[in-house]
């Protein structure tokens, strides 16, 4: 069986050049935390790792800009910073799950970060001169 995790398996999958992949990776590293806070803020209730990824896929039009595996360490770091709060609950199948909810200071951070994001997109749109609309 082909090792599903090897780079070649992935390359066939999304057919990107190494430069493109590198650029996308660097970009997504910066936005994962903001994307997570956005998802948690609009979530109907507490979410665990896999359900966060599913919701992100649904709302993000199935885009794979943010790889699901990159969410887990960021979830823990946001919790460490007090922006998310978590509880562990037993699950019917498998090990107990950690459910996350956004904290008030997480909402404040989301407001500020969304402002910074807006500033960034306005700046980039200005630089790219409408190229992004194509």
């Amino acid at each position: 069986m082909v090792n599903p995790g090897s780079e070649t398996a992935l390359m066939n999958d999304d057919g990107m050049s190494p430069e493109d992949r590198k650029f996308r990776k660097e970009l997504s590293a910066g936005i994962t935390a903001l994307a997570l806070l956005g998802i948690m803020d609009g979530a109907p209730g507490p979410l665990y790792g896999y359900s966060v990824a599913k919701l992100m896929e649904e709302r993000g039009d199935g885009s794979r800009i943010v790889k699901h595996g990159t969410l887990y360490p960021v979830l823990r770091s946001l919790e460490g910073a007090g922006l998310l709060f978590s509880t562990v609950e037993p699950s019917v199948a498998g090990p107990p799950r950690r459910y996350y909810t956004i904290t008030p200071s997480g909402r404040e951070a989301l407001g500020r970060w969304a402002g910074i994001w807006k500033e960034t997109t306005v700046f980039m749109d200005g630089l790219l001169g409408g190229r992004t609309d194509e």
Binding site: G49, G69, T70, Y72, V74, G94
Partner: protein, 294 residues
Amino acid sequence: MNKGIGLYLDDFRKHLKGCDRAIVQDALADAEDHLTAGLENLGKERPELTEEEALREVVASYGSPAELAEQYRRVEAFTVPALKPQRARNERSALKRFVGVVTEPSAWAAFLYMIISLVTGIFYFTWTTNGLSLSLGLLVLIIGVPVAWLFFLSFRGLALVEGRMVEALLGVRMPRRAVFIRKGEGWWGSIKGVFTTRSTWSSALYLILMLPLGTLYFSFFITLAAVALSFIASPVIELVFHEPVIDAPVEWWIPVWLYPAVVALGAVIFMGMLHLARLVGKLHGRMARAMLVS
């Protein structure tokens, strides 16, 4: 466990080489949990896919081991454990560093750990020795196996709890997730897994060791703290409450001119005690990492 997931995890483990062991444990548990759930879900949504295609799909959205290992390293680098000891500020003079310990939360936290380790130590020891002897005793009967299994599972749980405490108070990065119980190995496989994992046994040993260690830590540090505090409070005790600080074997009143020296000595003992607590905490943290992390 699915063979493909196993291969992925092996590859992931290779890419995480050199990482903190606690991070490796967390990262592998995250991946196994997510991939297993993803595969199950995709199997229901699109049953026409072969197992290999489904796994390829799930892995494509999860990320390659190389990029994820990089992400874990990057994110963990700035996720400092609570109260991680600040780096030694070498530019400060030796005297300032010695006195400055009273303003460092990490030293106070280590002292707190030493004090509560008596209580946790007694509980861990009682639970573990009872668990082991009950399991061993009942092993001749058929109910012995589930009893032993439950107790061994509880050792892992206690190890995780103790790990969280060690991280919070001693500033050592410990796992945030329990060792993953593999699905799909059958009930006998998962029962066997609990007994054959090295960390279960070393955790049990750690829990037993916590009684002598906790007693030692507690008595040593509480004695130092009590002596230091009684020295510091001696003027108040003698002048206000008219009680001699030293009354055995003979009553002895500290002469007034000696008060500043006695108070200063008390302060030095207390600060030295905080330094010592931090040092012992560091050593204990190392031991906890060696024994509690899989």
